[in-house]
């Protein structure tokens, strides 16, 4: 008989007797009574070795009064989860891309940042993407020439590549087609392709797309691009000398923000841009006279594009010089006062609704204490929400904004900014800043996308040598009614 003490976890069991004539398994059974650890889970340490079930006590050399240590628990044994965990590293490349939350950059093919940034900005319009994906050769109208068709297809392919890839995409095919369609982009300087004006690229590309994406029925309404970007302007042209007055309407793809000395803010610039003087022959006076043209917006696009007129042709230096003036632009733009009377009337009800909803969000929580009218409002909202969702789905198929129960409010949210850095339109560097669906802002500097803070986006307003906004795009905010 030996008497030992056994240490288990923080406890010490003193005076355990060992019958040396019996195998150690018996001893383990003794410990089982004390600790509740089944013998097969027990590990008993004796001077740098483990006690084996069938060992001989005499050969182990346990002395009377010795301290032994036991390890073991009755806990459940850890098992691997039945469903294996999938790691990002194991996923195919495409799925990794979606995990990043934004798409890939575009490789600069030699002064093609104007093109890259334009593509990135336009790619942020999901409706344009879906319109492109519906595009097919069979459905095209006959008046679309071959190169336009090729450019449209190339755009579609490029958008697709960008969505699928993790690493930067090389837009070689798109670039070739673009140059074929618009030979002005093939200008060479010192054997290199020249830097181009992004605005030109933007306009030309959008124009081409609008031509090729026109539905075969060729009615005005089915122009998908126009429905997305087109702004109808109603202008009143009048001549002060003769008192003649006429009105005309036109459709443009972007508003111009004219920059003069008194313009500090986008809104002022836009107002400025909608007023203009022009000289034309006055039938009353029989000579050319100065006419004043005042335009107002007659219909709102889903995506409002604003171009800052930063470049002007400087005759002395023979280049497009740049106005560095700082012009602030907001993240949320309200163009109500630029709209025509008719449009304003249409907008009033949705705007009231939007204000109410926002007010509700900000405060006025206690529903029980609120007035009857409020209750009615919330009641009315529930079904309308549902219909709103369904209409969103409908619109994704390419429908226009006027359908369904969604209504324009005249309020727009900034979604992409194309900036220019440098002193002349044909030099410097173009970069795109695009808001993702997740709300994050990504700067696409050719092949390097990087995350940016929202407050830094409004700092691209110019006034120095930093990137400054050249073309910005707003997305309409809708309210369901």
């Amino acid at each position: 008989m030996l008497t030992v003490s056994v240490k288990w976890q923080k406890k010490v069991f003193e005076g355990i007797e060992i019958d040396v004539s019996l195998p150690p398994y018996v001893f383990k059974a003794q410990l089982y009574d004390l600790t509740g650890v089944p013998p097969e889970r027990q590990k008993i340490m004796v001077k740098g070795g483990l006690l084996k079930d069938d060992a001989d006590w005499s050969s182990i050399g346990v002395k009377d009064g010795q301290k032994l240590m036991m390890m073991g628990t009755a806990d459940e044994i850890v098992k691997a989860p039945e469903k294996a965990i999938v790691f990002a590293e194991d996923l195919p490349e495409e799925e990794q891309a979606t995990n990043l939350g934004y798409s890939a950059g575009l490789v600069n093919l030699g002064n093609t940042c104007y093109m890259n940034s334009t593509v990135q900005c336009l790619k942020s319009v999901p409706e344009l993407k879906s319109a492109l994906s519906n595009y097919s050769l069979a459905g095209r109208s006959n008046d679309v020439d071959q190169t336009s068709h090729m450019l449209t297809v190339a755009t579609r392919e490029l958008f697709g590549d960008l969505d699928r890839s993790v690493n930067a995409v090389s837009p070689t095919q798109f670039w070739m087609v673009l140059r074929k369609k618009f030979p002005q982009f093939s200008q060479l300087q010192n054997g290199m392709h020249m830097q181009q004006d992004a605005e030109e690229c933007w306009t030309q590309l959008l124009y081409t797309l609008s031509q090729s994406l026109k539905a075969p029925t060729s009615s005005e309404d089915s122009d998908a691009v126009k429905a997305l970007f087109g702004v109808n302007l109603r202008s009143r042209v009048h001549c002060q000398e003769s008192g003649e007055e006429s009105s005309e309407t036109e459709s443009v793809y972007s508003l111009k923000c004219h920059i003069s000395h008194e313009v500090n803010h986008l809104h002022e610039g836009l107002k400025h841009g909608l007023k203009g003087e022009l000289e034309k022959t006055s039938p009353a006076l029989g000579r050319t006279a100065v006419y004043l043209k005042e335009s107002l917006i007659d219909s709102l696009p889903r995506y409002l594009t604003v171009q800052f007129v930063r470049f002007f042709w400087k005759r002395e230096t023979n280049q497009k010089a740049k106005i560095l003036r700082k012009v602030d632009y907001p993240l949320e733009l309200d163009i109500f006062d630029l709209c025509s009377e008719d449009l304003r009337k249409k907008l009033e009800a949705p705007r009231q609704k939007l204000r109410d909803e926002e007010g509700k969000k900000l405060g006025l929580q206690p529903k029980s204490s609120s007035k009857d009218s409020d209750v009615k409002m919330t009641d009315a909202e529930a079904p309308s929400n549902e219909s709103g969702e369904s209409s969103t789905a409908a619109q994704q198929e390419g429908g226009s904004s006027e359908k369904g129960t969604l209504h324009m409010t005249g309020i727009y949210d900034l979604v992409s900014v194309l900036t220019h850095k440098g002193r002349s339109a044909d030099s410097g560097h173009y970069v795109a800043w695009v808001k993702q669906e997740s709300g994050k802002w990504i700067q696409y500097d050719d092949s390097y996308p990087s995350i940016q803070r929202e407050e830094d986006i409004t700092k691209l307003s110019g006034g120095g040598d930093w990137h400054m906004a050249y073309i910005i795009m707003y997305k309409a905010r809708f309210v369901s009614m």
């Binding site: 240490k7 976890q9 923080k10 889970r41 590990k43 340490m45 004796v46 001077k47 740098g48 070795g49 483990l50 301290k67 032994l68 240590m69 390890m71 073991g72 628990t73 806990d75 459940e76 044994i77 850890v78 098992k79 691997a80 989860p81 965990i85 999938v86 790691f87 990002a88 590293e89 194991d90 996923l91 799925e95 995990n99 939350g101 997740s438 994050k440 802002w441 995350i451 940016q452 803070r453 929202e454 830094d456």
Partner: protein
């Protein structure tokens, strides 16, 4: 004596007064006087007197001669005490020095001749030509007598001449007995007059430090020993050992046992350590000794001779075995209120970064989860709780098991092992928690459990040897990952123990032709750690054979570097002992030969500050090599290893590294950040921080990775806000590069290691002692970092756990006589170097008063702010036993 005219003396005195006290106001006026009359009246009188004496000395009448000599002596003695300028009598006697010398030469042997020799000896102080050592010469022929009567300057000059004479005579092998007599007098004089440093210097010059023992007393032995120990760092071997030997003997003579123990540990002389125990009778003091030994991290068995009583011995052995370390650490953590477990997200602080807050990836990234595993392990090291691995078992079926499986394949090894780190030093709890993984059928998990046991037991020894008992079985497992887990676990748990049983089971692996290379590499490394600094022949042989057996292809493998490293660790800090092995290494395959050579050299001289070796290594770095040579990496690391011991050398090394960085090849540039990391480990110097921050954006990603890891190392356990900020920015800069991001995460884990309670510095006891196991752990990690891609970013990331060897609480915890923690006020401030300063200067500056337990940062020192207790060790670090002061009276 009578003929000496009194007025002269008075005059001399008066003149002296004038010279010393009235100089400021009268100086310009006096100068004018001098120009006009050349000399003042008094000076003139003195001059005439002296001239008269000189004449009289040459008088045939011995009486007159004697009288003149006596008077001359009086004059000189009266003036030598003021040393602001050349004393007047010496100045006036200058023209007659030649005459007197001539006369002395022709004098017959007599007392008078000796008297004259004395005077000439003093005159030679200012007049003899450089290198003639006339002062000494005349002193030796003179009458002897009290050496101090001629003043300090005379003695100092004499000491200098003795040193010169001694070297000359040594080379001529002439007798030095006469000199030694003089040395004895001078040393006695210096020691009495607060000039211990000069006494030590002289004795070092004449190589007879033993003399010091007779002259030290209670008043001056501390300063003497202080000077001895700090000068040892600058002496070439074997002089440094000799100096420390003397220091040890002096400490023992005055029963300053803690200091003596320190020196003994520095000398790595177990005989001395034993002697400290046997010569001390106070049990409480012995407990303090045990705490000091346990901090040093060596294995030490107490025997009945040291402590007679069995129960007492058990208590002491428990202290040496570090069984109470966990308890003390947790006391500190509770006092500082950092018990709350931290998650990796608490460390990353992603919400402080732009834009990407709260956008957790929807899919788990194995790399990121592995990083989180390490961060979690390092940050919660030793706290026994965390939020990933030790979640209570009722929720376990959901989360605890899950986190483990959120790691992929070999990642699971690190995850399971992290449990050992979280429960560091708490063996009982650790084994209980790790038990569940022992029954896993998943090999990486089992490997992790084995490694975890090793980590958990790091620095803790127990009679039952649980680590050996548990891991021993798996050394020969058929799965090599399990084998590595067991082998590495043993290496960590038994580092420095020189355990024969483990050697006999690990050595065969080295020479097993069928064993995979990685198993062999880790076996060599573990043996190196277990026998660190032991110069064990047999282990060295096995590793050498293993190296010779490697095929050409294997020699090119990244892991092969662990074989030379294991060999090097055997000779860590052992200087010349490495030479035989270094000779053998010259016969190796040329692929590994130079690498081995550099590793051996740097390990053997690690922490010695040997300038010659630093130059050797620098020369290696200066070469521009063909591509493919990798030995410059260890050379750069070696530079840091050798130079890291003392401040001056360290600063020089940092500057040299900057230079190497500019002109070196790529493989050197990759090692430089790591070397900087070693030099300033857990000591974030601003200049090094800036250099590393710059390198962390280097175009070469390996340089950047090394710099990032090193940023973590220099800030390890400091919670340094600046480094934390840098790393946070780097994490956003490199968020797309998984490898670099992994490094950033690891570095973040380092910086917040132990929530800021730990240090990685292998130095302790006021930077005097270097813990060999700690250094071994760090050096191993750094060598692994030389090839980051194949080791740490590959599947051997668990080498990061080697750092556990260096992890120690950076605390000062006071305990009472029953070893229960007590809180007393202490002052903590920047340490001041007081070596060679007279009196009792303040040892800290810019201090703040806290209550124990307190944290000590690098370069800080603590002192008790109360007289109520007396600390049993003068070095207030780690565990300090306090004794009540019997003389203390409440105010």
């Amino acid at each position: 004596m009578a003929p000496v005219p009194d007025p002269n003396n008075v005059g001399g005195g008066a003149k002296r007064d004038e010279a010393t006290t009235k100089v400021p106001s009268k100086d310009p006026k006096k100068k004018d006087d001098k120009k006009e009359e050349d000399l003042s009246e008094e000076d003139l009188e003195l001059k005439q007197n002296l001239e008269l004496y000189v004449e009289r000395v040459q008088d045939p009448n011995p009486e007159l001669q004697k009288a003149a000599l006596e008077s001359m002596r009086q004059e000189i003695r009266a003036s030598t005490s003021s040393m602001t300028s050349v004393p007047k009598p010496l100045k006036f006697l200058r023209p007659h020095y030649g005459t007197l010398k001539e006369f002395h030469k022709n004098m017959v042997e007599s007392d008078l001749k000796k008297l004259l020799a004395d005077i000439l000896s003093v005159l030679a102080l200012t007049m003899s030509a450089e290198g003639e050592r006339e002062s000494l010469g005349y002193r030796l022929t003179g009458s002897g007598g009290d050496i101090g009567s001629w003043g300090h300057e005379y003695v100092r000059n004499l000491a200098g001449e003795i040193a010169e004479e001694y070297t000359m005579r040594q080379s001529e092998e002439a007798s030095v007995d006469d000199l030694m007599d003089l040395v004895k007098q001078i040393v006695a004089f210096h020691m009495k007059h607060n000039a211990e440093t000069e006494a030590v210097d002289l004795l070092m010059d004449v190589e007879d430090l033993d003399l010091l023992l007779q002259h030290v007393d209670r008043a001056n032995f501390r300063r003497t020993c202080n000077y001895l120990t700090s000068s040892a760092k600058y002496l070439p071997g074997p002089d440094d050992m000799l100096v420390l030997d003397i220091a040890y003997m002096i400490y023992m003579k005055f029963e300053e046992h803690p200091n003596a123990l320190q020196v003994a540990l520095f000398l790595d002389n177990m005989q001395y350590v034993k002697q400290v125990f046997t010569s001390c009778t106070d049990l409480l003091k012995k407990k303090q000794f045990c705490y000091m030994i346990s901090r040093h991290g060596i294995t030490f068995e107490l025997d009945p001779e040291m402590v007679a009583d069995k129960d007492d011995r058990d208590i002491l052995q428990d202290i040496v075995n570090n069984t109470k370390l966990s308890e003390g650490y947790l006391t500190l953590a509770r006092d500082i209120e950092v018990m709350e477990a931290k998650t990796p997200e608490d460390i990353y602080k992603a919400h402080l970064l732009d834009g990407r807050a709260s956008s957790g990836p929807s899919v788990d990234s194995a790399r990121q989860n592995l990083a989180a595993t390490f961060v979690n392990a390092f940050v919660n090291a030793g706290f026994g709780q965390d939020k990933l691995m030790t979640v209570p078992s009722d929720a376990a079926s959901g989360s605890a098991g899950n986190w483990l499986f959120k790691n992929k394949e070999h990642g699971k090894t690190s995850a399971a092992a992290s449990l050992g780190m979280i429960l560091l030093w708490d063996v009982d709890a650790g084994l209980t928690q790790l038990d569940k993984y022992f029954h896993s059928t998943d090999n990486p998990v089992l490997a992790g459990a084995l490694l975890g046991v090793g980590i958990n037991n790091c620095g803790i020894k127990s009679d039952c040897d649980p680590a050996l008992a548990l891991l021993g079985e798996y050394i020969d497992n058929e799965d090599s990952s399990v084998r590595i887990g067991a082998i590495m676990g043993l290496g960590i748990a038994y580092a420095g123990s020189q355990n024969d049983q483990i050697r006999s089971s690990l050595s065969p692996i080295l020479n097993d032709a069928t064993a995979p290379l990685d198993v062999i590499a880790f076996a060599a490394l573990s043996l190196g750690m277990i026998y660190v600094g032991s110069c064990n022949e047999e282990v060295a042989q096995s590793i050498i054979f293993a190296l010779m057996d490697r095929s050409e292809a294997q020699l090119g493998d990244a892991l092969t570097r662990f074989l030379p490293l294991g060999l090097g660790l055997l000779y860590l800090g052992k200087q010349e002992s490495v030479e035989a092995t270094a000779e053998v290494s010259k016969t190796f395959n040329e692929k590994i030969r130079k690498y081995c050579d550099m590793t051996l050299l740097s390990c053997a001289y690690a922490g010695t500050g040997n300038v010659l070796k630093v130059q050797d290594l620098l020369a290696q770095c200066g070469e521009h090599l063909e591509k493919g040579d990798i030995h410059q990496g260890p050379a750069v690391l070696g530079l840091a290893m050798v130079a890291m011991s003392e401040e001056l050398g360290l600063d020089m090394a940092i500057r040299s590294l900057e230079r190497v960085l500019q002109y070196g090849e790529q493989n050197i540039r990759r090692a430089v950040p790591l070397a900087l990391g070693l030099l300033c480990i857990s000591n974030p110097k601003v200049n090094v921080m800036d250099t590393l921050s710059r390198l962390s954006h280097d175009t070469d990603s390996e340089v950047a990775m090394a710099a990032i890891i090193s940023l973590g190392l220099i800030g390890a356990g400091t919670n340094n806000a600046r480094i934390a900020g840098m790393l946070r920015n780097l994490s956003s800069y490199y968020y797309k590069d998984a490898s670099l991001l992994f490094c950033v995460r690891i570095a973040q884990g380092f910086v917040h290691m132990g929530k800021g309670l730990l240090t990685l510095s292998p130095f302790h006891s006021e930077r005097l002692l270097l813990s060999p196991t700690a250094l071994a752990g760090i050096v191993t990690l750094l060598h692994a970092c030389l090839d980051m891609k194949s080791i740490i970013l590959g599947k051997y990331h668990y080498v990061l756990y080697f750092l556990v060897l260096a992890m120690q609480p950076r605390m000062m915890l006071t305990v009472d006589e029953n070893l229960k923690p007590i809180s007393v006020p202490v002052r903590v401030g920047q340490a001041v170097d007081v070596v060679g300063q007279a009196g009792r200067p303040k040892t800290i500056t810019g201090f703040q008063t806290h209550s124990t337990p307190v944290l000590l940062a690098a370069g800080e020192r603590a002192e008790l702010a109360t007289d109520k207790y007396i600390p049993l060790s003068p070095i207030l670090e780690g565990f300090i036993i306090l004794k009540e002061n019997p003389d203390y009276r409440e105010e």
